[in-house]
């Protein structure tokens, strides 16, 4: 039994923010959950999948976020409760369907949880999902701590069911991936039965068809829901105020920034000067509540991540109520008091408060600060992100790099989203030259592949991972084949959604619930689409490189090379070495070799280290994963690999 399904009300557990969201959904009696993996959201569906059989839930990793939301919506239409989870850019993917769903309305409670990543800690962007709530005209909730993440998620289902509209819950990395104590509520006993009713009148929300036309009528009804929600938000316990009745400054905040703001006020000892208005219901904003607090003072600071979403809406409200609340001075993103990119933290809020209120604050003495900075600059060399020891991507990019060098026409790789995005760094030999959204590598390559007409003769490669292939590469590959774009797509199939924790995808014959399901084969799909397909093991660097050169020279439209090798951290490879690897110290001649320290300087596997005293390469036993690729790379043949004896 998971601690997430503990039936005892009032017990307390240390849980991740994502798990608090899960517990909230369980307390709301969620029946169906779907999503697509993406940091920092993945643990939501992972955890729900683990408790699915115990609580009779249906949980799936869908092929992409749009389909995930469609699956969740079907459950809602059948009067079940459904949760759909994704990272911020997942909402971009799902947004086409979301617009229509917001138009038709929903039935069973349905909650869309988006986990944003301010500061792009593990993303290729720091996009804001909050604007979608506004754009789609659906309610937005933002939890400001772990307990609230649970309570809010639970309430979101009730709200959704009451207004028959999807509710948007927005978390951020510092809530989703942080942990804290929460106290449990009750788990419901009642079961729901699924049935989709469609025999009623067309405008009947419960028994009519689920279609967005007649658009004018439905849109008006949707906006009436927003008005109703605005009224409900006036009284919401998720909006709180701490501070004096007449503060010098009103600080309005939401989400993790609430915790930073509270701490900044405490560190500066401003409890008597600054009023802290924490908003949990951030769209539509409750005007009466805001008016009440805006009346308290003339100076207002808004602290949020990343863009001035709250700030702009508060300003609109203040303008609408100008006659009542008077003229305000606003501090926030637009005037530069706080940065408009990157994540915030307590220090940035301390700095902003210090500036606005004219306070001197130094956390440590200047002397200490200077030595600490100096020591870090000389004593702590930067750790660039690298592919893990034994990572198949290193071998793949090594071959791609060599194939392109041999070809000599300045070929390049259009990149995609996954660990292999790091191939724009030295660890991937800087072969990757474009990086955008899921599937965009192949789409962009498809465009480059048609530029021969304008004199371009550079070879065009695209890379994608196995999960990415299903998510968004398939339409781009169809496009490339159909339009005879001259490209080579390299699918780096490492048997799972590796970067986010080995979630299964359609290529794996096992689903989120651990059941056996049909695996959908990447090579066969590519063949059916009409591409020439080759399959290789990237650990065979010689064969892979030769195949690549052969494919690049083939001028007949789109080609696909599937490189199959499991991730070094995958359950099937973790802690299992194929080879015992060592550097024969009598063969390695070190710096006089002429190889220019090829293994450590160029190939750069972290399992190989350079002994500065002996001036020879060595294998770090603790780090080496035993893939044996380096033995093929050493020009002297000094790296020896021997089969690990079978036990």
């Amino acid at each position: 039994m998971s601690y997430l399904t503990d039936k005892e009300e009032g017990t307390s557990y240390l849980v991740m923010g994502n798990e608090a969201i899960v517990r909230g959904a369980l307390e709301a009696g969620v029946n169906v959950a779907s999503g697509y993996p993406g940091t920092p959201s993945s643990e939501i569906i992972d955890s729900l999948a683990k408790v699915a059989s115990e609580l009779d839930l249906y949980v799936e990793w869908s092929v992409n976020e749009k389909v995930a939301l469609e699956v969740a919506a079907a459950a809602s239409f059948a009067k079940l409760r459904a949760l759909c989870a994704m990272k911020q850019n997942g909402v971009d993917v799902a947004s086409d369907f979301l617009l229509h769903l917001a138009g038709t309305g929903t039935r069973g409670g349905i909650v869309l949880v988006a986990c944003d990543d301010p500061g792009a800690l593990s993303s290729a962007n720091e996009g804001e999902s909050r604007y979608f709530a506004r754009m789609m005209e659906i309610p937005l909730l933002e939890p400001g701590n772990f307990q609230e993440a649970k309570e809010m998620t639970k309430w979101a289902f009730e709200l959704s069911e009451e207004i028959r509209q999807i509710v948007f819950v927005r978390s951020v990395t510092r809530i989703s991936h942080a942990s804290g104590n929460i106290t449990y509520g009750k788990l419901p006993e009642k079961k729901r039965r699924a049935e989709f009713k469609y025999d009623g009148l067309i405008l009947d929300p419960d028994e009519g068809v689920m279609v967005s036309p007649p658009v004018g009528w439905k849109h008006q009804r949707q906006q009436e829901k927003v008005k109703k929600v605005r009224e409900m938000f006036e009284e919401s316990p998720f909006n709180t105020y701490q501070g004096p009745e007449r503060p010098d400054l009103l600080l309005i905040t939401s989400s993790a920034c609430y915790l930073y703001s509270r701490e900044a006020i405490s560190i500066l000892g401003l409890e008597d000067r600054v009023g802290l208005l924490k908003l949990g219901t951030t769209w539509p904003l409750p005007p009466k509540l805001l008016t009440k607090h805006l009346l308290k003072t003339d100076r207002v600071m808004i602290v949020e991540e990343v863009l001035p979403f709250l700030e702009d809406h508060v300003k609109i409200l203040a303008a609408e109520q100008a006659f009542e609340v008077g003229v305000k001075t606003f501090y926030g993103k637009n005037d530069g008091t706080l940065p408009m990119s990157g994540e915030l933290n307590p220090d940035l809020v301390i700095a902003a408060l210090s500036t606005v209120l004219g306070i001197d604050y130094a956390p440590v003495s200047e002397d200490y600060e200077q030595s600490a900075k100096l020591f870090a600059s000389v004593g702590a060399p930067v750790r660039d992100l690298v592919f893990c020891a034994g990572c198949p991507h290193r071998a793949s990019f090594f071959s791609i790099h060599n194939a392109l060098e041999l070809d000599g026409r300045k070929g390049f790789v259009c990149g995609d989203i996954g660990c292999y995005a790091m191939a724009n760094r030295p660890t991937g030999y800087r072969t990757l030259k474009t990086l955008h959204a899921m599937g965009s590598g192949t789409g962009v390559a498809s465009g480059f592949g048609k530029m021969g007409q304008f004199g371009m003769d550079q070879p065009i490669l695209a890379v994608c991972g196995d999960s990415t292939f299903y998510h968004a590469v398939m339409p781009a590959l169809v496009n490339a084949v159909h339009n005879k774009a001259d490209i080579t797509l390299v699918v780096m199939d490492n048997s799972g959604t590796a970067m986010t924790g080995f979630q299964p995808h359609p290529g794996v014959a096992r689903n989120a619930l651990g059941q056996e399901v049909p695996g959908v084969d990447i090579a066969k799909i590519s063949e059916a689409i009409g591409a020439r397909v080759e399959i290789r093991d990237p650990f065979n660097v010689q064969e892979t490189r030769e195949t690549l050169n052969n494919l690049i020279e083939d001028k007949n439209g789109a080609k696909v090379l599937v490189l199959r090798q499991a991730c070094a951290l995958s359950p099937q490879r973790r802690n299992k070495k194929n080879y015992d690897v060592r550097v024969d110290q009598t063969i390695c001649v070190g710096e006089v070799c002429g190889c220019g320290r090829f293994c450590t300087r160029i190939f750069r596997c972290p399992g190989i280290i350079w002994n500065y005293e002996k001036k020879r390469a060595e294998i770090d036993e603790v780090i080496c994963a035993g893939c044996g690729v380096c033995a093929d790379v050493c020009p002297q043949g000094a790296i020896i690999r021997e089969d690990v004896p079978k036990r």
Partner: protein, 212 residues
């Protein structure tokens, strides 16, 4: 349960290291031990892309009064536990202060740039000197070497937790550790972990005895 008052509230622990060293696991286990003692604990951690060879930092905020945010403010670290020696230097640049205490595993994990010869890794003596200048107390612990002797290098994180428990800032001991891991770890891993924790406790006790 009423939690014992701490020397500072919130008490800020930073556990740092390199992706793959068991940083997150160590912070989970430590925090669960503290939650069982009745404390409010908030953990903030950076993982995801940082699994691949990058620096990993877990912020653990412990309070007998209320829950705090997931990030330690600048200059407010109370104890830094590092699984890789230079990571402590990196962390102190932001979270250090003259009263901070450091427990450092001595085993180096070289950044790719060092292996490639593009930057240099400080000598052990240099690391020691820098840490001593920045911290009130520094304990250097050969956790990885001992863990390798136990048969699994990953146990270095548990050895470090054992050592931390024996410093005396936090009211936790081997029994609290046993209670947590018997709930969270598979049966076949428990014996090794108990041994590692006890080893860490022993190493720290010996160091403190030598100090006197």
């Amino acid at each position: 349960m009423k939690a014992k008052q701490l020397s500072k509230d919130p008490f800020n622990i930073i556990i740092t290291g390199v992706g793959g060293q068991g940083n997150v696991m160590a912070s989970r286990i430590l925090s669960n031990m503290l939650v069982n003692k009745g404390y409010f604990v908030t953990i903030g951690e950076t993982f995801g892309a940082s699994q691949r060879g990058g620096s990993v930092i877990s912020h653990i905020r412990v309070s007998s009064r209320s829950a705090w945010g997931p990030l330690v403010p600048k200059g407010r670290g109370d104890v830094v536990v590092t699984l890789e020696p230079i990571e402590a230097i990196r962390v102190l640049a932001h979270y250090g202060n003259p009263a901070v205490e450091v427990l450092a595993n001595t085993r180096a994990v070289y950044p790719a740039s060092v292996t490639a010869g593009e930057s240099t890794y400080p000598t052990f003596e240099e690391i020691k000197e820098m840490l001593k200048k920045l911290a009130a107390r520094v304990w250097l612990i050969d956790a990885t070497d001992e863990a390798v002797k136990l048969g699994n290098s990953i146990l270095s994180n548990i050895i470090m937790m054992g050592a931390l428990s024996a410093v005396g800032h936090l009211p936790i001991d081997q029994d609290d550790f046993t209670a947590v891991i018997s709930r969270t770890l598979p049966l076949d891993k428990i014996a090794d972990n108990l041994q590692a924790f006890a080893l860490g406790v022993g190493m720290m006790k010996e160091k403190r005895r030598q100090e006197r």
